[in-house]
């Protein structure tokens, strides 16, 4: 989302309700505990966590903006810069590596013409290598949005890239 400024950053009602529900899971005055989940929702809705988005979340949860920034920059799932609609996160850790994760990464790099960490020109795909996703027995694997794609082969990568190209909606997080 381009040119984000604080005025036009606003969750729709159903997301405000969801924030309300999540906050209510914690005792009164401990609403900061909802922050990590609310940031997932904000990232899914706004595309990435820009400074205005983080400021908005701070106001929603009645905390200081710095408290949001320090969390948003600590956890690896948050993007503070724009990314593609579909983030292909390929596990690169030990068990996946010995089952051929590196080959899968090079294959995707070649196929999409981007390197690890880059986004395709059409803005659809971002490729990112990540650390262990807890799918070691089903290696190699990648995560797109909430979905795990396991036992990857080049053929499977072809199919899923084609699917996401036609319907690039994998990058949602935190909403149904």
């Amino acid at each position: 989302m381009e040119n984000q400024n604080i005025e036009n950053i606003q969750f729709p009602k159903e997301l405000l309700d969801e924030v309300q529900r999540i906050t209510s899971l914690f005792p009164e005055g401990k609403q900061k505990s909802a922050l990590i989940r609310v940031l997932h929702i904000a990232q899914a809705h706004f595309g990435y966590l820009s400074a205005p988005v983080m400021d908005y979340v701070a106001r929603l949860l009645l905390i200081q903006p710095i408290e949001v920034y320090e969390v948003a920059t600590f956890y690896s799932m948050y993007d503070t810069q724009p990314v593609g609609k579909v983030k292909l996160e390929v596990c690169r850790t030990g068990p996946c590596m010995i089952e051929g994760a590196e080959k899968i990464v090079s294959y995707i790099e070649k196929k999409l013409g981007i390197k690890d960490g880059e986004t395709t020109e059409d803005g659809i795909f971002t490729l990112k290598t990540v650390e262990c996703l807890g799918a070691c027995g089903y290696a190699p694997m990648l995560q797109a949005g909430e979905k795990f794609h396991e036992h990857l082969t080049e053929e499977k990568v072809d199919v899923l890239i084609e699917q996401y190209r036609l319907n690039p909606v994998a990058n949602y997080m935190g909403q149904e």
């Binding site: 899971l25 005792p27 401990k30 900061k32 505990s33 909802a34 922050l35 990590i36 989940r37 940031l39 997932h40 949860l61 905390i63 408290e67 320090e70 969390v71 600590f74 956890y75 690896s76 799932m77 948050y78 690169r92 850790t93 030990g94 068990p95 590596m97 010995i98 089952e99 990540v130 650390e131 262990c132 996703l133 807890g134 799918a135 070691c136 027995g137 089903y138 290696a139 995560q143 909430e146 979905k147 795990f148 997080m173 935190g174 149904e176």
Partner: protein, 450 residues
């Protein structure tokens, strides 16, 4: 056939739903505890069972529970650690995805035993789809009166919810988990004070692993003594093992503790042997943090006795010739795998995951990654091997949390057992850059066999 206590009904159609779970005997343990047991009696059964933490450390659960402070008027909290991030480990995901109600039942029992009325499951952010499965199951449990106020007329109240992380291995450390659940960066806290005294929101808190909490269900159902009768010695009960790497049948297996490692690797009901008829080169039996074992120490101890799948047997010989059961992340390497590359990969992981609070870990993990990268890519010097040894020694034991140790151990063990392979990388730098694993390891493998 090994006994199963957690995964008996995992293949029953619809076991993830409340109705099927209930029909197969689910929530009977909660019924029993609320009707006929006091919280102290539940703690007593868990103590008798000998159950030890399944997240990696293996600390006796009953003892951990007995440390919780009970100051008047201060709420206590029970937390489930579902941050499963140890490379090689994927058992908790399997449990929660397949039988979410088992965890919920365990949470109710544990919260009852500890007198906690507000409990949370902290799950890693990447498992968001599992979080949704759990939330659905929790809603079913509320609808059927197993959660909420005055559960089944017992007077016991419990609210349970799930909260995600957002991609940080360190949040599997219990004080970092607590920080994260408070909506902060996952920086581990100094201990003491221990969470049992000052945990979540400075209140007394107990944190247990998913599998540990699930094990409380059969313990209450069948009694602590019956549970202690399964397994071997101080390794009581069953353990879920996540098997991966170069094996024929990767997956999650529930084993009775005490079966032999050989049976686990080569047995048809478990890993089914090494893939493609290759030879076993090495094994990491308990997640990436534990020392790697060369093939001749995997199935046998240095004493020549059979190595068993238990806390004690896997640790036999200390770090010189043994390893740890850890989280049960069992990674098998065949003869084509490069130990230097694997060690570099793990060091990169720990460097990436270090929270940065303590200098030895923040700086040391980065140095280890760089030096190992240099060795792997053919620019290493022979002194680099000693340098690595020196760095890992200076990290171990010098950090607030065990991530430092976890980063040091795999490097130490790789050098201890595979020094020749590191030296080979220095002597034949060109061969290394082509990443010809077969050639690299074959030579070393023959030497090891000789």
């Amino acid at each position: 056939m090994s006994r199963k206590l957690l995964l008996n009904n995992v293949h029953v159609e619809g076991i993830h739903t409340y109705d099927v779970y209930r029909k197969t005997g689910g929530y009977a343990a909660v019924e029993k505890a609320l009707k006929s047991m006091t919280p102290e009696e539940v703690v007593e059964e868990v103590k008798k069972s000998g159950l030890r933490g399944r997240g990696g450390a293996g600390f006796p659960t009953g003892m951990k529970w007995s440390f919780i402070a009970k100051p008047e008027g201060v709420p206590r909290h029970f937390l489930c650690n579902a941050d499963e991030s140890e490379p090689g480990t994927f058992k908790d995901r399997y449990l929660m995805e397949k039988i979410p109600h088992l965890l919920i039942e365990g949470m109710i029992l544990s919260s009852f035993a500890l007198g906690c009325e507000q409990s949370y499951i902290y799950i890693r952010g990447e498992y968001m789809y599992v979080l949704r499965i759990l939330e659905k199951a929790i809603a079913e449990a509320y609808q059927n009166g197993w959660l909420g106020k005055n559960i089944k007329g017992s007077g016991f109240n419990l609210d349970l919810s799930v909260s995600p992380g957002a991609g940080a291995y360190i949040c599997g450390e219990e004080t970092a988990l607590i920080e994260s659940l408070e909506g902060k960066r996952g920086n581990p806290r100094m201990k003491p004070p221990f969470p049992a005294i000052q945990g979540l929101w400075q209140r007394p808190t107990v944190v247990n692993n998913v599998e540990t909490i699930c094990a409380v269900v059969p313990i209450v159902n069948e009694g602590g003594e019956a549970y202690a009768g399964v397994g071997i010695g101080r390794s009581t009960g069953t353990k879920l093992i996540s098997a991966g790497g170069n094996i024929n049948k990767p997956g999650v297996y529930e084993i009775e503790m005490g079966i032999s490692v050989e049976e686990f690797i080569y047995g048809d009901q478990y890993c089914g042997g090494i893939k493609n008829g290759k030879k076993l080169k090495a094994c990491v039996p308990g997640g990436s943090s534990v020392p790697i074992l060369p093939h001749y120490l995997v199935c046998k101890t240095a004493e020549g006795t059979d190595r068993l799948m238990s806390y004690e047997s896997l640790a036999e010989g200390g770090f010189a010739t043994g390893s740890m059961l850890g989280s049960g992340g069992f990674i098998v390497y065949d003869e084509d795998q490069c130990i230097v590359r694997n060690t570099w990969n793990f060091s990169r992981f720990y460097h990436h995951e270090s929270c940065g609070q303590c200098s030895p870990c923040r700086e040391g993990t980065g140095w280890m990654e760089k030096v190992l990268h240099r060795l792997e890519y053919g620019h290493g010097k022979i002194e680099d091997i000693d340098l690595l040894w020196d760095i890992q020694r200076k990290i171990e034991g010098n950090t607030i949390c065990p991530l430092g140790d976890a980063a040091a151990w795999p490097v130490a063990a790789a050098i201890r057992h595979f020094r020749e392979e590191f030296e080979w990388h220095v002597k034949e730098p060109n061969a290394c850059t082509t990443r010809n694993y077969g050639l690299v390891t074959e030579k070393v493998f023959e030497k090891v066999n000789a």
